[in-house]
Symmetry: C2
Amino acid sequence: MPTIRDVSKLAGVSIATVSRVINNSGYVKQETEKTILHAMKVLKYEPDPIARSLAGKSTRMIALVVPDILNPFFPEIAKAVENEASRLGYTLILCNTDNSLEKEESYFRVFEQKRIDGVILASYTFDASQIKKWQRKMPIVVIDNRFPEHPTIVSIISHNRSGAHLAVNHLIEQGCQKIAHICGPMDVYSAKERYKGYEDICESQEWFTPDLVVQGNFQIKESYQATLQLMNRHQDVDGIFAGNDIMAVGALKGLLELNIGVPSEVKLVGFDGISIPLVVPELTTVSQPIGEMGALAMFRLVDLMNNRPLESNVQVLNVDLMIKDSSTTRASKEFMK
Amino acid sequence: MPTIRDVSKLAGVSIATVSRVINNSGYVKQETEKTILHAMKVLKYEPDPIARSLAGKSTRMIALVVPDILNPFFPEIAKAVENEASRLGYTLILCNTDNSLEKEESYFRVFEQKRIDGVILASYTFDASQIKKWQRKMPIVVIDNRFPEHPTIVSIISHNRSGAHLAVNHLIEQGCQKIAHICGPMDVYSAKERYKGYEDICESQEWFTPDLVVQGNFQIKESYQATLQLMNRHQDVDGIFAGNDIMAVGALKGLLELNIGVPSEVKLVGFDGISIPLVVPELTTVSQPIGEMGALAMFRLVDLMNNRPLESNVQVLNVDLMIKDSSTTRASKEFMK
DNA sequence: ATGAAAGCGCTAACAC
DNA sequence: GTGTTAGCGCTTTCAT
């Protein structure tokens, strides 16, 4: 592998000048620049990123921390982030935490040690003080979570509350007379907002009781079990709003188990809009712009890494109701039972 | 951040000696070692990985290249690889290629430049000669693919052909009288093996015709369309073996579209055994040990990186038939129609 | 068993 | 505009 020294020799200049054209910093005569560029081409020279990093430049590596890479939401985020990262010349490090605080902490220590330039963090376990602590050492952009009390934390999130309104109103329009909610962990901002959105609309209905809300923890299995319980308590539930798509899948499994038809007996709406249409029947869902969220996270991170000021620390994205088969009895299709 | 120099001063030795204990190479008196270890602890010293890399050591970074991170098979691989990698002190770089040869090539160039220690490659587009070319520069372990003509390529793969036997025999046992196959790209080893497995058993049946095999290309959409065509050509097909799970999902969608009951009218079996049970009804599938495959890939890569000889360049894993709802009419559950 | 010193390939003052 | 040089933090001969 040729080094900067080889280039400087071939071009008949000093390595400093070569360095200048590599970084195009400082002044360098058009002509010499040309000679150098040519020499670089001839030698197929590529600056060594490790040496650059050691000499004080950035590592051009960023990390993506996700709680559960098996939840299709996160591969979608990962795809978008990786795509933008590689386009911008960054290398993406993937970290899966299984919702473990310990792992998160240990990853951040590695990031510091390896001088990662920045991190995109999806976590439901890390709290504001820990984020702020690490933020002093490296730029961090949080996705799908938010800390309203801590305005210095940069985050990207969707309109969860109004998204929930869309979901519930849709169920009402479809004629549902008793709508339940399977919620995510209540200490997670997005889960709580979706819950609040449900509450906003349902609380005032005469059929409403608090135990129409059951805990699913953003997991298939928990949601499945919660659904069994729920339908046991309230046989007359005819609409379910699940706090995310995989919980909706859990609910679907539960309803199937109980021999309850979807959508004929119970109509179901999820949240997230994971793009790979894995579920049959296809799920009606409140779709977040997941790819956009990943890409924006990358852009904001780049802003931070370049000390560019942000217009605002929190960016809230619009959501969209995607009406599919699990909530509408159309075309005479019935899926279960 | 303290440096090796700080440690050497505090311990009253030269940096060379400190380096020796860091790498425990060369001789160093028990006593001095203790002093140094203590000094390191006091200063909370951690060797700078970048400096180490520059000075000629490895980067402790490995790359995982996948064709499509949205296919749940690959997040599962990624999870296992990342898990072992971080356990072993390696950092995992994620690369998504969208089956683009160009992207693959460009990633490998980056790997060389960044002195990645090794790569785990899942690709259906890279061919043997390209792998061998890059293999001269860095250790590579191929997963879910294999090049029988090129025994120097290290790969990990499942028993695809006998897995297909399991699938087809199961369908026959379930009473199927005409079994079709939705295959993956025929230039991909695993797809071809699964196809061969289907053929092994079906070719001799009196109902067999070559056009019972349709092309799905390992994608949902293509498989969906292939299924529509297939069922149009052969109304009497009552069993489908799909070359992977997401193609099985595509088939399910197609059958749904045509108002064909699963499993009552058509029984369906997939391949892969993606663990997240996203599909309702749950898919009968030939399950590969996906996590194990990822972990083994990491282990073999470590062997290669340490120049340890492998017992064999190709490792073939056992598969398992997971009987679920899409192929058995049990408990009076019927899912569609 | 330990230390001195020459790099690894690059950046960034500083000097001319 | 361009060159000289001192690092960045570590590894690794080569002496001793």
